[in-house]
C-alpha cells in the first residue's frame, strides 16, 4: 500500500502543455521509458498535420533523427526524408551572382562517427507532425487532450495542479511548457524572456523543379537576409526567403506568377523549370531566450525556452536536444526512486541545456547580423572569413558536426539509445 488517500491522486507522472513536434517527442520518450504522460494542445494533432497549418520544413540533424529512430519512428519518417548530401553556403548578391568564395559542407568529410549517415534530413513539418501523432495514438501510457489549451499551473510540495481552458484541473509530478514562444506555462511561472525582433520576415514555400537537386542544400546570404533552398523528396525544394517585413508581406500577397518571377531571379537556372507546389507562409523572425528553463516542478523546452533565429535550421534540433536531455534527467531520477519533478533532476536539465542553447542562439544571431548587410568592406571580410574556414579542414569539420548535432555531451536518445526507468 503506497498511496495515501488524503493526497490528490496524480492523473499522470508528467503533463505536457503543447502537443507540437517537441512536446510529442518528449511525450513519446517518457511514455516509452515507463512514465504516464498527458499532453494537452489547443489544436488537434490531425489539424496540425494538414498542409495548410505549417508550410515549413526542417533540416533534421542526424542526432535528432537517431532519437526518432530510437523511439521507433524511422520507418514512418524515412519515405518523407530527403538526405542532405552537401550544403553550399554562398555570400550572394541578387542578380550579381554569388561571390567566388563560398563555404562547402560535405557529408563525406564527416569522420567515421557519422557512420556514413547523411548530414541530416529534410522533412516537411506536416509529415513529422503526422508521424508523431500516429505514434502517440498507439501509446497506451500517453493521453492526448485536444483541442484544449493549458491555462496555468500551481506547484506545491506534493505535486503540480494544471488548469485547462475548459476548467478541468489535472494533477501530476511535473508540468512541461512546450507551447512555443508565447508559452502560458512560462508566463504562469513568472519567467521573463530576453530577446529582440529582427526587421526580417521569412517567406516559406515549397517548389517543384525539373532536374534533381542531388541532395544539395543552398544557403545564399543576401543583404536582406538568408535565402535558402532546402532539398525535399521528389524533385522539390523548400524555400526560406528572408526579407524586410514590407517586402515579405508583398511577396506573400502577390500573384503566383509575380512571385515566381521574383523567385527565379534568386533561384537560378540549374534546376530547370520551377513551379509552386503549395501555399506561401510568412514568419516574422525574432530571438528570444527565457531567463530560466526551470522552476519548481516545471521545465520549459523548445521555443518556450528559446526561439533562435532560424538560419541554419537549428530551431527544431535545439528543441529536440532539450527533449533528449530532459527525458534522460527525469528518467534517471525516477529510476533511483526520486519523485517525478525532483529539483535536482530539473537542475541537471538546465545545466545540460543552458549553455548550448544560449550559445547556439547567439552564434546564429551574429551570423545573421554579419551577413545581412551590403557594406563592401564587410562583404570582403566575410568572404575571406569563409575562405579561411573552408581551407581549414578540422575547423570546418567541427562546425559540420556541431551543425549536425553530433558532438558534445550527448544525451542517450541522441546517440540512438532508448531510455528505461
Amino acid at each position: 500500500m503506497v498511496t495515501n488517500p488524503e493526497v490528490a491522486a496524480r492523473d499522470a507522472d508528467v503533463i505536457i502543455a503543447g502537443g507540437g513536434m517537441t512536446g510529442l517527442t518528449l511525450a513519446l520518450a517518457l511514455a516509452q521509458a515507463g512514465l504516464s504522460v498527458i499532453a494537452a494542445d489547443a489544436e488537434v494533432a490531425s489539424a496540425q498535420a494538414a498542409p495548410t497549418y505549417d508550410g515549413r520544413s526542417s533540416a533534421i540533424a542526424y542526432a535528432s533523427f537517431r532519437m526518432w529512430a530510437a523511439l521507433g519512428l524511422a520507418d514512418a519518417l524515412m519515405p518523407h526524408a530527403q538526405r542532405i548530401e552537401k550544403i553550399l553556403v554562398t555570400d550572394g548578391r541578387v542578380r550579381g551572382g554569388a561571390s567566388l568564395l563560398s563555404l562547402v559542407f560535405d557529408r563525406r568529410e564527416l569522420d567515421d562517427r557519422a557512420g556514413g549517415e547523411a548530414l541530416g534530413y529534410m522533412l516537411e513539418n506536416r509529415h513529422i507532425r503526422a508521424t508523431l501523432a500516429a505514434a502517440a495514438a498507439k501509446q497506451s501510457a500517453l493521453t492526448l487532450i485536444a483541442p484544449v489549451a493549458v491555462t496555468g499551473y500551481a506547484a506545491d510540495a506534493g505535486g503540480v495542479t494544471v488548469t485547462l481552458a475548459d476548467g478541468r484541473t489535472l494533477r501530476a509530478g511535473l508540468v512541461v511548457g512546450a507551447e512555443g514562444r508565447r508559452s502560458t506555462i512560462r508566463a504562469a511561472a513568472g519567467i521573463r524572456t530576453t530577446g529582440w525582433k529582427y526587421d526580417q520576415t521569412a517567406v516559406v514555400c515549397t517548389v517543384a523543379h525539373q532536374k534533381p537537386h542531388d541532395g544539395v542544400a543552398h544557403e545564399y546570404f543576401l543583404p536582406s537576409g538568408p535565402f535558402a533552398m532546402l532539398p525535399l523528396t521528389q524533385n522539390r525544394c523548400n524555400i526560406v526567403w528572408t526579407e524586410r517585413p514590407a517586402i515579405a508581406d508583398a511577396l506573400k500577397k502577390m500573384s503566383d506568377a509575380d512571385f515566381m518571377a521574383e523567385l527565379s531571379a534568386r533561384f537560378g537556372a540549374h534546376l530547370g523549370a520551377v513551379s509552386l507546389a503549395g501555399p506561401r507562409f510568412a514568419y516574422p523572425l525574432s530571438l528570444q531566450i527565457a531567463e530560466k528553463f526551470i522552476a519548481p516542478r516545471m521545465a520549459l523546452i523548445g521555443d518556450a525556452a528559446h526561439g533562435v533565429h532560424p538560419i541554419a535550421g537549428q530551431g527544431l534540433n535545439v528543441g529536440l536536444r532539450d527533449v533528449a536531455a530532459l527525458a534522460e534527467s527525469i528518467v534517471d531520477a525516477v529510476r533511483v526512486g526520486l519523485d517525478v519533478g525532483d529539483g535536482e533532476a530539473l537542475a541537471r536539465y538546465q545545466r545540460w541545456r543552458r549553455f548550448d542553447t544560449t550559445s547556439m542562439a547567439l552564434v546564429m544571431d551574429v551570423f545573421n547580423r554579419v551577413f545581412s548587410n551590403d557594406f563592401p568592406v564587410l562583404r570582403q571580410l566575410r568572404g575571406r572569413g569563409m575562405a579561411v574556414v573552408d581551407a581549414i579542414g578540422p575547423a570546418r569539420r567541427f562546425f559540420m558536426r556541431e551543425a549536425a548535432g553530433g558532438s558534445g555531451d550527448l544525451p542517450k536518445l541522441l546517440k540512438g539509445e532508448a531510455l528505461a526507468a
Binding site: V2, N4, A157, V334, V336, E344
Partner: protein, 245 residues
C-alpha cells in the same frame, strides 16, 4: 533509552528539521549527492537480491529500515522503489518533518522516533538496513553497529555510508562545506568523530563486508561520482549469511 544517541547531535539536527526538504537550505549538499548514492543503493540491492533490474518497483516484497532517516531524503525513494519502509531517527522533529512530507507525497512510510538498540531488542528484522551518513554522529559506533547488524534479517544486507577521516574529507566536509561554502551549518561534523573504512569493517564483524566504494566530489563541476576515490565519502556493504548457506 539506550546509549548510542548523542543528545547534543540530536539537538543539532532537530533545530534544522524544517530545512530537510528545502533544496537550497541547510541540507542542499545531501540533495546534490542524492541521485548518485541512490543509484548505488538500487544497483547494490538489485544485485544482492537477484532482482530484475527493470521497472519502477524493483524492491517490491523487501523490507527496509533507514537508520538516522532525518527528513526522509533516502527513505522516500526506497518506498517509491517498492520496499516496505521504516524510517528511524532520534530527533522527534525530524520524524515529524519526514512524516509530514511523506504524507504530502502520498507515500506510506512507517516513521518512528527511537534508537537502533531499542529496536534490536524486539524481534523486528529487515531485509535491508541502511545507515547512511549516521555513524559519524553516534555516541558509540561499536554499540550502534552491533544493534544495526542485529536488525539485518538472515540473507539480508546492510549498507553504510560515511565521511572518511582524511585530510581531503576534512577539507571538503568540514572546512569547505561548513565554513566556506556554507552548505551545512557550522559544527555539523567533528573531525574526531569521522570513521575510516578499516574501523567500520571492524565494527561490522558479524557481516561479510565488501568495500569501501568511493563517493567523491569534484568542486569544479559541483558533481558527485561513484568510483575508486574513497578519500572523502564511501560506502561499505555487509551481507548476513542466510540460514541455508
Amino acid at each position: 533509552m539506550s546509549t548510542t544517541l548523542d543528545t547534543a547531535e540530536i539537538a543539532k539536527f532537530a533545530a534544522m528539521a524544517d530545512a530537510w526538504w528545502d533544496p537550497k537550505g541547510a541540507f542542499a549538499p545531501l540533495h546534490r549527492m542524492n541521485p548518485v548514492r541512490l543509484a548505488f543503493l538500487r544497483e547494490t540491492i538489485v544485485a544482492h537480491f537477484a532482482r530484475p533490474d527493470a521497472g519502477r518497483r524493483p524492491f517490491e516484497g523487501l523490507s527496509l529500515i533507514d537508520l538516522g532517516c532525518g527528513g526522509g531524503l533516502v527513505t522516500e525513494p526506497m518506498a517509491r522503489l517498492g520496499a516496505a519502509v521504516t524510517g528511524l531517527d532520534g530527533a522527534p522533529e525530524s520524524i515529524a518533518a519526514a512524516s509530514a512530507h511523506a504524507a504530502a507525497m502520498g507515500l506510506a512510510i512507517d516513521y518512528r522516533q527511537g534508537t537502533a538498540e531499542d529496536l534490536a531488542r524486539t524481534d523486528a528484522r529487515f531485509d535491508i538496513v541502511l545507515a547512511l551518513e549516521i555513524v559519524e554522529h553516534v555516541a558509540d559506533i561499536h554499540a550502534f553497529c552491533d544493534a544495526a547488524q542485529t536488525l539485518v534479517a538472515p540473507g539480508g544486507l546492510m549498507i553504510v555510508s560515511t565521511i572518511n577521516r582524511t585530510l581531503a574529507a576534512r577539507a571538503l566536509a568540514i572546512t569547505a562545506a561548513e565554513r566556506i561554502l556554507r552548505w551545512v551549518p557550522d559544527g555539523t561534523h567533528d573531525y574526531e568523530k569521522l570513521v575510516t573504512p578499516e574501523e567500520l569493517r571492524g565494527a561490522l564483524h558479524g557481516l561479510e563486508v565488501s568495500g569501501p566504494f568511493g563517493l567523491s566530489f569534484n568542486p569544479l563541476s559541483g558533481q558527485w561520482k561513484l568510483g575508486a576515490d574513497t578519500s572523502m565519502n564511501y560506502f561499505m556493504v555487509g551481507a548476513k549469511q542466510s540460514p541455508s548457506s
